[in-house]
């Protein structure tokens, strides 16, 4: 298909860039930066590179305030992924990424390629990927479209992760109408490497080669960030922005080959980056920018799957399973041979050049000749207006549940899709390949041992859009606190976080307020828990019919367990253990699962969270775990104390007899900062010594498979069998 491109003058008058989400002011800015009227290719590249996805033009002012560095951080945000030292000469590498929009349109491939993309970020740093986690949000399962999205998104994650041989070890799945047509699909990947193998995405050294590796380029997802189909072509529009299809087999080979290059050919490798959003242009321009280099590429050399691709299409295609390497001059063949050994294409498509120009040739003509900085560092940054949403100015009254039948309410609560067992979903993921997974999905955090050491890593993802909807600042802080609590319950010291900031259209001042305030809350919490933000991702414009999703920052946190013998799991181990609760329980029901269950919606204020008290509790719990006093630990979150109690008793059918001095309805309260912990009776004194009055004895575990709870207002008994059935049926019965 031949296409006559508009001339620079025609572009100036007909303004096709508007349809690629570039404003007139941005066009003028770009023209001034490059010093001439941009060609069709040039303005196309700018529209991709200046999109929110690549330039973070709306979110940068927010991201800048994140706390990103402590003594263990080897690399913070800005590269493919962040890196934290974990001792023994090793480092952990992690990052999360959202693939919400592609998954809404094409759930299987959208989710699969989301997983593929985040894996490339990890091995581009030189790390071996060891785990995947997935954080998912859906509308209600009463909607057939939601059921299909859930089934296909899980299938896509499984299809990619299982085939490539990286275990999917954890995540979260929650349901709320706010996500009805806009599911959230966030994937996190974790890798391990030796500290000295750290690799950066830079193209330095005049004359060094730019090597294109992996799958051929097709017209897939062209300019996924800003392309609106049907805008600049008269024919074959429907095929233009073809769906990206993942090929995990190709990615497995690519991973192995790239790791071989980083491990064994350090002297030849100058830099490496994956081709993600805005494909070849973003990877190449960013690699040049980071090294302050110029770059010249010959697009005729780019491996192409389809005939007659234009420079615009070649540069902005988002075909999957591709990497860009900078190779020291003279070493090209050595590296090409490695890829050939894995059956992969590797082609020198250009060189690092003197100066700072970004030059592209196609069929003998120069189609782009502009400063690298015009695509990268000089992209605009906008300071958005921020307005407090009306709902926060005058919140609804506090919610207090009136519960007549505790037994029935508890059983019904366990059946709510957000609370119910996710086994029917995560059993579709291979959670054990690589034989490191000590704690499988179904617990607070996944735990993976590190072969050849005594150490283990604990991993979790957490988010709670309801809380942030009610109070962005507190909710942001609570999200980080919950992640830390999940790790602590497993026996791990939190190390750092990655995030996906999922929000609505941030050009709306109310949405920007949510983004800004929740980031502030997260920042406050990261400082208290000593968990710097080392990587992350932003996804804006998540709306259903103009209504934004709940503001939903997802926190992926990684923690370190120095000694595998202190790994702690949540299930009751035996009868006659003492059951303690750590932390105060208050009547906190706003934004809770019980409020949602009873009223069908959420509202009210959040009580302030005391981060320092919570941190103190974390330290005490870890101290007790490390002295081997704790037989089980579980954090309290959605559904409160009773939900946690059920989850602890179910796996081994061990019940409990507890006495509480609060009204029974408070057992559903979601006051943050709490744990349930069990201790052998002979360790009672030692445990009390450590915990002081931060822990309260509630009772003990019993062999009978039922829970009996005595409160000032009533006593009730619920069988594990009833809870289990309700909990296990929650999702499968609604999927039929």
């Amino acid at each position: 298909m031949l296409q006559t491109e508009l001339s620079p003058e025609q572009i100036q008058t007909t303004k096709p860039y508007r349809q690629w989400d570039m404003s007139d002011a941005e066009y003028d800015r770009f023209t001034a930066l490059i010093g001439h009227l941009p060609t069709f290719t040039e303005v196309g590249l700018a529209s991709g590179m200046w999109s929110e996805h690549c330039a973070y033009k709306y979110s940068k002012p927010v991201l800048r305030q994140f706390w990103t560095k402590n003594e263990n951080v080897l690399m913070g945000p800005g590269e493919g992924a962040g890196v934290i030292r974990i001792g023994d000469g090793l480092a952990v590498v992690f990052k999360a990424e959202s693939h919400n929009h592609p998954s809404a349109v094409e759930p299987y491939e959208g989710a699969a390629t989301g997983v593929g993309g985040i894996i490339r970020d990890i091995f581009s740093i030189g790390a071996k990927p060891i785990a995947i986690l997935d954080s998912l949000r859906f509308g209600e399962l009463t909607d057939p479209r939601t059921r299909q999205l859930l089934d296909q998104i899980v299938a896509g994650i499984a299809g990619y992760g299982n085939a490539i041989g990286i275990p999917t070890v954890g995540g979260e799945t929650a349901f709320d109408n706010a996500y009805a047509r806009n599911p959230l699909v966030n994937a996190m990947c974790v890798g391990i490497m030796r500290e000295d193998q750290l690799q950066k995405g830079r193209a330095a050294g005049i004359g060094n080669a730019i090597l294109y590796v992996g799958a051929k380029t097709g017209r897939d997802g062209i300019n996924g960030a800003s392309f609106a189909s049907g805008t600049f072509s008269d024919t074959e529009d429907a095929d233009r922005a073809a769906v990206q299809v993942g090929d995990p087999f190709m990615e497995k080979l690519l991973t192995d080959a790239c790791l071989k290059v980083t491990n064994e050919h350090q002297d030849a490798l100058v830099g490496m980056q994956d081709m993600g959003a805005a494909g070849l242009v973003s990877s190449s321009a960013e690699m040049a920018a980071k090294a302050d280099s110029g770059m010249a590429l010959n697009l005729d050399l780019v491996p192409q799957r389809e005939p007659d691709m234009t420079p615009f299409e070649i540069m902005l295609s988002e075909s999957q399973e591709r990497m860009l390497l900078c190779i020291a001059e003279g070493h090209e063949q050595e590296i090409i041979d490695i890829f050939a050994g894995y059956g992969l294409d590797a082609v020198v498509i250009g060189r690092v050049t003197p100066g700072h120009a970004y030059q592209l040739t196609h069929h003998g003509a120069t189609v782009c000749d502009i400063p690298v900085s015009a695509l990268t560092t000089d992209a605009p940054v906008y300071h958005q207006q921020s307005t407090m949403p009306v709902r926060l100015i005058a919140p609804a009254d506090d919610f207090q549940p009136v519960i007549t039948d505790m037994n029935a309410a508890w059983i019904e609560l366990m059946n709510q899709p957000t609370m119910a067992s996710k086994a029917s979903l995560y059993q579709r993921y291979d959670a054990q390949v690589q034989t490191n997974t000590v704690v499988l999905p179904g617990s607070d955090a996944a735990v993976l041992r590190i072969k050849g050491t005594k150490r283990a890593l604990a991993l979790t993802t957490d988010s709670n859009g309801r809380y942030i909807y009610l109070d962005p600042y507190q909710g942001g802080a609570m999200t980080v606190a919950e992640a830390a609590r999940n790790l602590v319950a497993s026996g791990a010291t939190p190390l750092g976080i990655t995030d996906c900031l999922n929000y609505g259209d941030s050009t709306k001042p109310e949405v920007f307020f949510e983004l800004e305030e929740s980031a502030k809350g997260m920042t406050a919490a990261t400082k208290v828990f000593n968990t710097p933000v080392i990587s992350g991702n932003v996804s804006l414009y998540n709306e259903t019919n103009g209504t934004p999703i709940y503001p939903t920052p997802m926190v992926g946190m990684v923690g370190l367990i120095e000694d595998c013998s202190t790994i702690t799991t949540q299930e009751f181990k035996q009868a006659d253990d003492l059951v303690y609760v750590v932390g105060q329980t208050r009547p906190d029901f706003n934004g809770s699962e019980i409020q949602k269950m009873i009223t069908g919606s959420i509202g009210g204020r959040l009580a302030p969270i005391d981060l320092h008290v919570e941190k103190a509790h974390h330290d005490l719990v870890l101290a007790a775990i490390r002295t081997h006093l704790v037989t089980a630990a579980h954090d309290l979150s959605e559904g409160g104390l009773l939900a946690a109690l059920a989850e602890m008793g179910l796996p081994k059918y061990i019940g409990a007899e507890l006495q509480v001095d609060i009204p029974t309805s408070w057992l559903f309260a979601e006051t943050p900062g709490r744990f349930l912990i069990t201790v052998r009776p002979e360790h009672q004194a030692a445990f009390d010594d450590i915990m002081g009055d931060s822990a309260r004895l509630l009772g003990r575990t019993v062999a009978a498979p039922q829970f009996t709870i005595q409160a000032p207002n009533r006593t009730f008994t619920t069988t594990i069998a009833a809870l289990e059935k309700s909990w296990e049926d929650g999702i499968p019965c609604r999927m039929k």
Binding site: A163, D247, F249, M250, K252, Y429
Partner: protein
């Protein structure tokens, strides 16, 4: 005793198997590329789990044409011990070294879960370390583990005691609850569950060790089995 673990493009349990053999069972094991053409020097050959050649077309369908498979067939014909686990089992059936086929699980979903198994025949080179009648639990992790064979083949499998492992709670629709079989000669084993994932207390189970210990017993009893 020395073992070869074949790495097909797309295999992903090869290193796990090597770890289980070398680090835990004390059997030195090398990774051997699918492009290799000889298995000289090895006493046992393992085909690992994973998605060889992406499992495109049918699982194992493309892998069976790898150069190494000619050597594997020769090795098996000479009486050498060959073990295919998960994708390895699928490859062995496609290659005709084992009867039957593995088709989609009836749920059409990949299943990763612990599977209780009855050891049906503990008088084999792969199971003699397990007391007769034992039930063990090994992880399964597959989308296509639903064993199918025509009625005549099933009769032969039953009468020759070639069914080695049976699910006690059939997860995938396999005929006769079959989880693992040998060939008629008894030196080639295919099984869907992953013994290499059940080798360490830290990871929750050591039920898989018996497969490797059985081989060691057998080899010690017989001396090196294959003259190459």
């Amino acid at each position: 005793m020395r073992a070869a673990v074949i790495t097909f493009p797309g295999s992903n349990c090869d290193e796990d198997l090597q770890w289980a053999l070398t680090e835990i069972s004390g059997i030195p094991a090398d990774l051997v590329a699918a492009t290799a053409t000889t298995l000289t020097g090895y006493d046992a050959v393992f085909l690992p789990g994973g998605f060889s050649y992406g499992d495109y077309l049918r699982s194992g369908a493309i892998a069976r044409f790898s150069p190494i498979m000619t050597a594997v067939k020769k090795f098996a014909a000479a009486g050498g011990f060959v073990v295919g686990i998960c994708n390895g089992f699928q490859i062995l059936t496609e290659a005709g070294l084992l009867p039957g086929t593995l088709q989609w699980n009836t749920s059409l979903h990949f299943i990763c879960a612990p599977a209780p198994l009855e050891i049906v025949n503990s008088d084999t080179p792969f199971t003699n370390a397990y007391p007769a009648g034992t039930t063990i639990t090994l992880p399964i992790a597959h989308g296509q583990g639903n064993y199918y064979a025509d009625p005549a083949t099933l009769v032969a499998l039953e009468t020759n005691h070639q069914i080695i492992f049976r699910y006690t709670d059939n997860p995938n629709g396999s005929v006769h609850d079959i989880a693992g079989i040998t060939n008629a000669a008894g030196n080639v084993l295919g099984m869907m569950p992953h013994p290499e994932r059940a080798m360490e207390t830290l990871l929750g189970s050591t039920d898989g060790r018996g497969v490797f210990q059985s081989l060691i017993h057998t080899m010690e009893g017989a001396g090196s089995n294959v003259a190459n």
